[in-house]
Symmetry: C2
Subunit: 453 residues, 2 copies
């Protein structure tokens, strides 16, 4: 019998990240300089990012990149994460499907975000920097970065999307406990923040706004660089640890997933989760049905355009070619803060464009129904973001129940919902509603995409 | 090199609990009927507790008791818990000591409480009951019981100490998400609650009050029984899984602790953590220095009396012989809700009385200093309760630094502090103070101990 939880031993843990780009026929399009609309050079990027991270950002060729020993040591504090067989969920659903999930929530950041936070903080420290700035949505990335910086002795300034700052005061305290400073965004502390506040008074903010502020804070302060928890190629690279561990664990128990499901905001979890499986698919060694799940309120893949766009609302960052709703799109205040981003990783966007994966969107009340059902039988109270994947995993398992197919369904349980109890309370009280933008709502953002050949 | 985390495989997990009482020369004194002051019979106890649990409560002879398969299955959802080598803390302290901790926080209840919750809920279900009632302090026990009841389909009514109910609204929502009803205690819903409110208007409650209310609610409702998360012999029995796993893991890595440290409120964690080690000590097979750590604001071991006392404030429950501050003692509103109990497990009280373990008390500001230091280097944000053990583990490690001794220090990290951010915020803002009762404060409770020969 397959155990409930499969752990690798520490000696079995991967010591290299896997870079999907090396196996992609159609490489992701390069970042463009917002002024010249020419591909960003390493030199231009190094004003914003650490040098080693710039190398990783631009490297479309090296398939495996060594994980520095110091990062491996940090990983050992909270990794490997378990590959869990969801026996109780299977039983509750009465499905012949076998359901597995990779649980990334067993660390204080509450999510997979720590995997890239420690890497980015490590390279900043190695370069002799004083500190880093960043944005955070649900607070998971900010917490993760605070933890990594506390461990390494780096200063950490976090711009937190205002709606999350208000919904999650305790996240702020976790970050403060780890020594970070936390500012609600948009704020009066940056030029771009003041501009956004003037144009959208009363806005609850977005990841796009917070990114603009954090970039400005980094580039205007000596000894600081900006770090980002999603979207970038380097982040997808670091997060490949999720998929690599999963693949090794599946091999260990002699199992192979048929369907792989991940929630998608900027793409950090999904990109990491699918990495080695997509690698096999790209090399023609195996096939998997891969499904990205996004919130109906912020549907970049399913209703956005594949085009060059600004990564941030303030239009100070480079442009990326991606599925986007427009950098001016500010999603409604739904409860999956980590998925409220207008765009999507360029790598994932290219893969989706090339038909190598599917995408679907789900509404938040159905997501919380799935989350509650999951919590009651599997024990773990999931993050709203992760619950998007749970919802679709349950749907797929119920399809198997109808057809009698014994598929192996694998999803990423990116984190826990312990700091999302305002959202759960709304759901428990029957006060949660769904927000689906109309075509007209979306047209506003999409009509303002920059003109790039 | 010893790994950062040692996990048993699921097949190596213990399938029996260990009952320390079987090896104790001086058995813990029996519970007394509050009316007759005679030892409680099985029949009397079965009005309050399930039958199987009554058997376990009274069994002073059987050393090993089988864990039912259904409970083993549930344990596999979140156990084994890791035995962690605190390499980073050792390095930060510059100590030659080797520090280990057993981390029980990797489940949604956030603590070790789930180990007994599932056992008690299972036996209630097996007996065909409709539901159970209980009290909760910090909220960890209530959450654990809610999870166990949701899994088994039992109704769950929780009386939550008012100070925690107010400090931890999100705990309440977690319990509601798992389908439990939650009432702040003291409340107007019971006779005893109304009486306590009349005598102490404005009280922030205590575990003792909440127990009285939960017992009244259980005994006055058909098909319900009361369950308790600490103090009782049966709870210490179930929690022995912590120590048993730890012992197996130590054996696996060829290590043996010199000092074992656990926080002590009612004794559930400490009793479970030390069980097999104390067993060796009782049988003369090995020796360990064992330290109970309690809050200076609620010092049952270090400043209480070893005497028969009521287990609850309302004086409706049986009397237990234990170290107690008097059932009328209502501790000040410190931030380790789980340790705010006037008494202590009869088993642990007897062991302490017999000189088989030591006890010390620590002040909460020093506890939060230790918690923050630990969080920053070891990653995990600890519960205030657990941090009492961290504080003393650090002190012991620093003693080793002075003497150069390479001792092996082992402590119980009972849980996470994710729902304790109000307390961390107070500490971060420099607004936390210490509450140490004067001898006169303590005399009030101690002078009212019942007269028992």
């Amino acid at each position: 019998m397959v155990p409930y939880k499969t752990y690798l031993s520490e000696s079995e843990m991967p010591t290299q990240w896997y870079n999907m780009r090396a196996d992609m026929k159609n490489k992701p399009a390069p970042l463009l300089n917002p002024g010249t609309l020419q591909p960003m050079t390493a030199q231009e990027l190094s004003g914003v990012f650490c040098e080693e991270l710039v190398k990783q950002e631009l490297d479309n060729d090296t398939p495996y990149i060594d994980i520095p020993k110091e990062i491996c040591d940090f990983y050992r504090m909270y990794r490997p994460s378990p590959l869990v067989r969801a026996y109780c969920l299977e039983k509750a659903l009465g499905t012949p499907a076998r359901i597995y999930y990779k649980f990334e929530g067993n660390n204080t950041s509450g999510s997979h975000k720590l995997n890239s936070a420690i890497a980015q903080a490590y390279y900043a420290k190695k370069q002799g920097l004083k500190g880093v700035t960043t944005e955070t949505g649900a607070g998971q990335w900010g917490t993760a970065l605070s933890m990594a910086c506390a461990y390494l002795g780096l200063d950490c300034k976090v711009y937190m999307v205002k709606v999350s700052y208000e919904q999650k005061p305790f996240r702020r305290e976790v970050m403060r406990t780890y020594g970070a400073s936390v500012t609600p965004s948009p704020s009066e502390t940056t030029n771009v923040g003041r501009k956004i506040l003037a144009e959208h008074p009363g806005t609850t903010g977005s990841l796009g706004c917070a990114i603009s502020e954090a970039v400005e804070a980094a580039t205007s302060t000596e000894g600081y660089r900006y770090v980002l928890g999603s979207v970038l190629n380097q982040v997808v690279l670091h997060q490949s640890i999720i998929g690599l561990e999963s693949k090794l664990a599946f091999d260990k128990i002699g199992e192979k997933p048929d369907i792989i499901i991940g929630c998608a905001g900027g793409g950090s979890n999904l990109g990491g989760l699918i990495a080695p499986f997509m690698g096999q698919k790209l090399r023609g060694e195996a096939d998997y049905k891969i499904i990205a799940v996004e919130p109906a309120s912020c549907p970049s893949f399913t209703r956005g355009k594949f085009a060059y766009d600004f990564c941030d609302t303030g239009m100070v960052c480079p442009l990326a070619k991606m599925y986007t709703l427009g950098s001016g799109f500010i999603p409604s205040a739904n409860h999956a803060g980590g998925l409220r981003y207008h765009g999507m990783s360029s790598i994932l966007s290219q893969l989706y464009h090339d038909g190598l994966m599917e995408a679907t969107s789900v509404e938040q009340t159905s997501v919380f129904e799935a989350a509650t059902q999951f919590a009651r039988v599997e024990g773990i109270l999931p993050a709203p973001e992760s619950s998007h994947a749970i919802k679709v995993a349950i749907d797929e398992a119920l399809k198997c129940k109808e057809t009698g197919e014994e598929k192996t369904i694998f999803f990423g349980l990116t984190g826990t919902g312990y700091f999302d109890m305002v959202a759960y309370q709304k759901f428990n009280d029957g006060e949660m509603s769904d927000y689906i933008p109309t075509d007209d709502d979306l047209a506003v953002g999409l009509s303002k995409l920059p003109k790039v050949e």
